[in-house]
Amino acid sequence: MKHLLSAADLSRDEANLILDTAEEMRSLADRPIKKLPALRGRTVVNLFFEDSTRTRISFEAAAKRLSADVINFSAKGSSLSKGESLKDTALTLQAMGADGVVCRHGSSGAPHLLAKSGWMTGSVVNAGDGTHEHPTQALLDAFTMRRHLGSLDGRRITIVGDVLHSRVARSNVLLLSTLGAEVTVVAPPTLVPVDMSRWPCVTSYDLDAVLPKSDAVMMLRVQRERMNDAYFPSAREYTRRYGLDKNRMAQLPDEAIVLHPGPMNRGMEISAEVADSTRSVIVEQVTNGVAIRMAVLYLLLSGSNEEEQTA
């Protein structure tokens, strides 16, 4: 593995290697010294063209716990806001000797371009590109589910919300099906991509019918900026049909858990009672996010690049 651009690139073995490595990384949180020397002397650049607090902080914490040097490069207040092209930014990072670049971009495919163009030699981690993918989010979701449910093989996982615009949904569907889970996506018809036939999952429009058969439910954030685009009549109607409240949660099997990638709109796609309930693993997802990103950075950056490419 040289880059992590898409959850689809991961084989089952590779995905399990990342999850197993993250399990070891997570035990670091219990230690007095939360630092490992694995990436000493390596430089990780957080290249964020889009605003993001949680993902950037999570990657920054992960890189620092592995002793890497971290450079944060965000669009605001940098040359990027002055109209520098992706190519020139990449050449700059190459000249600075970046070993790894964590890239968040509003356009789908930007991390792929960065990785395959030959402008730079470092490893690229996709931290969310447009409406395409967000593989580390899917890995941390899978990791959280695995810790609660055991193996995901044959587990029924339901993803609810704006699948059309959600990179989290796409990455999760791809990764979870690789890991053997049965994935159902539930969304208003207007928020389902045109052709779902190539997605390895089932589509439904009826949340109440799916909930009793779910081992885990992942609620996606309704992006407020979409609400003016008439994908659904009103926020209240969305909440009535696709929001997870206490009554709906009661339909879930006893061991089922509730996930949300954050940030939550309490009262919209998820009610406060559900978000704060014992079934909710939303805070744990954040902790696990650091462990997963440590595992990804470790596996991509710790070895020698030359041998890695020939291996």
Partner: protein, 198 residues
């Protein structure tokens, strides 16, 4: 690979191949571990301060076996765990990335204890150096001691073992392989010429 898995598949154990010879058999290994257990107790005047940490992969079952012997002699269990040193190795940037092994530090920690590191073969000493670095990130033991099943010489660092199962003079071209029931279906220490998979 978990020890349980390989124990279920004893057929995976390879009979010694042509250019490899057995230098310790199962009963030799058993006797050596019993002696090491007694030496640990003697040196530390009992089992009280001792924490055993095996270095994965084969140091871990060795630590557990020594622990069982101490328990049998003293009637008191010794905290036993494992310490993965992968991320502390000095060649981490030179080789392809490796998966991590499990680190399991006993609940009471290692502060003020006598940590006995347990490994199968002592060679260059670089693994032990990495283990010492890993330990210092976990706590501050009162002392660190080293137990190895085989010391094959050729140290590249000023490190020595406190407890040695067998001193085995080897040449650099030879390979020393330790087989343990937990992983390989049988107990044996083999020496092979380079190239021969022993």
């Amino acid at each position: 690979m978990s020890p349980a898995q390989s124990a279920e598949h004893p057929e995976t154990a390879q009979p010694p191949k042509r250019s490899s010879r057995e230098v310790l058999d199962a009963s030799d290994i058993s006797r050596a571990l019993t002696r090491i257990a007694h030496e640990i107790l003697e040196r530390n005047r009992g089992a009280d301060p001792v924490v055993l940490l095996g270095i994965p992969s084969r140091g871990v079952p060795l630590a557990q076996r020594v622990s069982a012997r101490i328990q049998a002699v003293e009637g008191q269990s010794v905290p036993t765990g494992s310490l993965d040193v992968t991320m502390y190795r000095d060649d981490i940037g030179l080789k392809p990335p490796r998966g991590l092994e499990h680190t399991d530090i006993p609940a009471d920690g290692i502060d003020g204890k006598v940590v006995v590191l347990v490994d199968d073969v002592l060679f260059s000493g670089r693994t032990i150096r990495a283990a010492l670095d890993a330990l210092s990130d976990i706590g501050r033991p009162r002392a660190v001691q080293l137990a190895v099943l085989v010391d094959r010489g050729h140290r590249e660092l000023p490190i020595r073992a406190d407890y040695v199962g067998k001193n085995l003079p080897t040449s650099l071209v030879e390979r020393v392989t330790v087989h343990l029931t937990e992983y390989d279906g049988q107990d044996a220490v083999l020496i092979a010429d380079k190239g021969a998979k022993g």
